[in-house]
Amino acid sequence: MPTTIEFITALFYEVDEQLRALPKHPEAHLWPSEVVTLGLLHALKGVGNRPFQSLVDARLSAGISAASRAHPALSSPQDPSGLDAGVLGRSDRAWGHRHLGHRADPSHA
């Protein structure tokens, strides 16, 4: 049985074989075959958005270069307040993790 990352790669190959002719939207970060692969994995996993993002982070981040991860697929909308990103936090972090970090920080005590 293949590992999870091997299975995801094989699944992406199968999807891309069917959808490679589809063009990418100029404002999209992902190709249609990448979106469909993520949709299939989401349906197969059968969990909500946040647990699925944890799976994607855990399984796929190792295979994606740092340069690619610098532009997240689902980037946060522009913040009109102009506050520092560290204040608002990032959308691709677990809520609980951020709150725990906030409590553990002695500077906030």
Binding site: F7, L11, G39, L40, H42, A43, L44, G46, L55
Partner: protein, 155 residues
Amino acid sequence: MREGRSPQQIGRKGVSNHRWIVGGKLCLLLNQWGLIVGWACDTANVADNTFQWLIRQCEEQMIVLSDTGFHAAEGDPANLKLCQRGEWEDRMLVETVLSMLTLVCHLKKVMHRGWAYFQARLAFTMAAFNVLVQWQGFQPSTSGFVPLSLSGFSL
């Protein structure tokens, strides 16, 4: 108890397996090997015979076996064969597919807040099922039965 908790609730109250549920209803059309060749969804309050249009779509291609819930007083599609409980063993194939979708894809626990997202989730689940049960190719037994398995892909 589960109805009316949110003004934006997309699920409706209906009966499933002799008990009340709040949610949606999925109608599957399987071929003789258990692959999904058609599907439709609606809220749980609609009658099963609402999906007769799905059966009519393949009127020239195959007969469709269903339970008596798909009968309509106004008339049934010519290719619809209503089966009494326990009359046809093909029901086992349907239940096998539903069991795989339930255990591997957790299809009975869908929490989307928008109908379009719910439909997309079902579409991806149907597509994933068809792709994955054919992952190793079809390997029929001597009697022509094709064993289906999804458990090896459980993430």
